[in-house]
Subunit: 220 residues, 2 copies
Amino acid sequence: MKNSSCLVVFSGGQDSTTCLHWAMKRFKDVQAIFFQYGQRHQKEECAAHLIADLNKIKLHTFPLDFFKHLGGNALVNSNIPIEANSQELPNTFVPGRNLLFLTCAASFAYNEGIQDLITGVCQTDYSGYPDCRENTIKSLNQTISLGLNKDFTIHTPLMHLNKAESVRLAVQLKAMDSLRHSHTCYEGVYPPCGNCPSCLLRAKGFKEAGIIDPLLPKVN
Amino acid sequence: MKNSSCLVVFSGGQDSTTCLHWAMKRFKDVQAIFFQYGQRHQKEECAAHLIADLNKIKLHTFPLDFFKHLGGNALVNSNIPIEANSQELPNTFVPGRNLLFLTCAASFAYNEGIQDLITGVCQTDYSGYPDCRENTIKSLNQTISLGLNKDFTIHTPLMHLNKAESVRLAVQLKAMDSLRHSHTCYEGVYPPCGNCPSCLLRAKGFKEAGIIDPLLPKVN
């Protein structure tokens, strides 16, 4: 595949940054797409631009404020405190977010003549989001191929990895310089808050992998 | 189903207006959703509001300007003249438009506790748009049910009708008062231009059904 083009759905976070490096090993022309969907803060977009620049990747940004108008969840409404509850869907659940991102990515890719899409969704640590699961993504792959009348492939390099395995993959892919600039914290602060579900999941993965997270400020 | 709720993807055009009346026969609570996706003119939205008001239907409007930013097609760029070419996809093809509309409709429906979606897509006169075909919609139905972890049903009352049969169905459903206010012309003019692919298709259907289009100004 090294001579073809691909499009990475890119958020500037840990997983999609690892995917960006995964793609750079496999495709000649790697492009990335970032959606401004009404995030609580600008940190994600700044991280995405910085990492794309660092790796000389063309980054396409698109406003997609549907979810902001839809409202009702903590990811796009900073008045709602972020809570994780193992008994039900977390209140950061944006219904259909990955479906919409991948559908829009496919529309853009269609116009650019790109048929390979890459996303960092992961079933192992899927945090209760049903559109991160493999059966959803396989079904969506078929849907966009039918709906655009073109054979798309959605690649999910992290689908069956846990966070520690993702960290080890990132090390193998020499993604640490990029991960130093990635953004994960739901609260949008630096240093990361360390308490939100997203920070806790990231810290757990690095700890289990026995790797120091390059994002964190050095002690001393 | 008469005691449940549904959501009609509504454009203010002939097909979705017929679907609105189809839904009113079958569901107790009918709601409609309209997407402002960067249409060439405001006529569609005005028609949607008028028809919804006439039928006492709650209409939800959402900005969805992704396609405007995507660009490159005649439906959202009034600098590109509309052309139909039977040899290839028409230049009004917005890649993935129906996929995106139905995915967004499902996200909204999810939050409202609605599981029945209705769309006017039609395979018979599908005008070269692959996301109007039944296999695409069936696949999408499965994708949104998996991705939102809820059993959705996408109803497509017009899927296998030709335009004349759709007109006859509209007559049966007593939709003529609504169709008088519907908007079809790509050029956004009233009286309709009569020459764009959309006007020609509508006129053909009414002619074959032997019905006078209530939209047209009365002679005398």
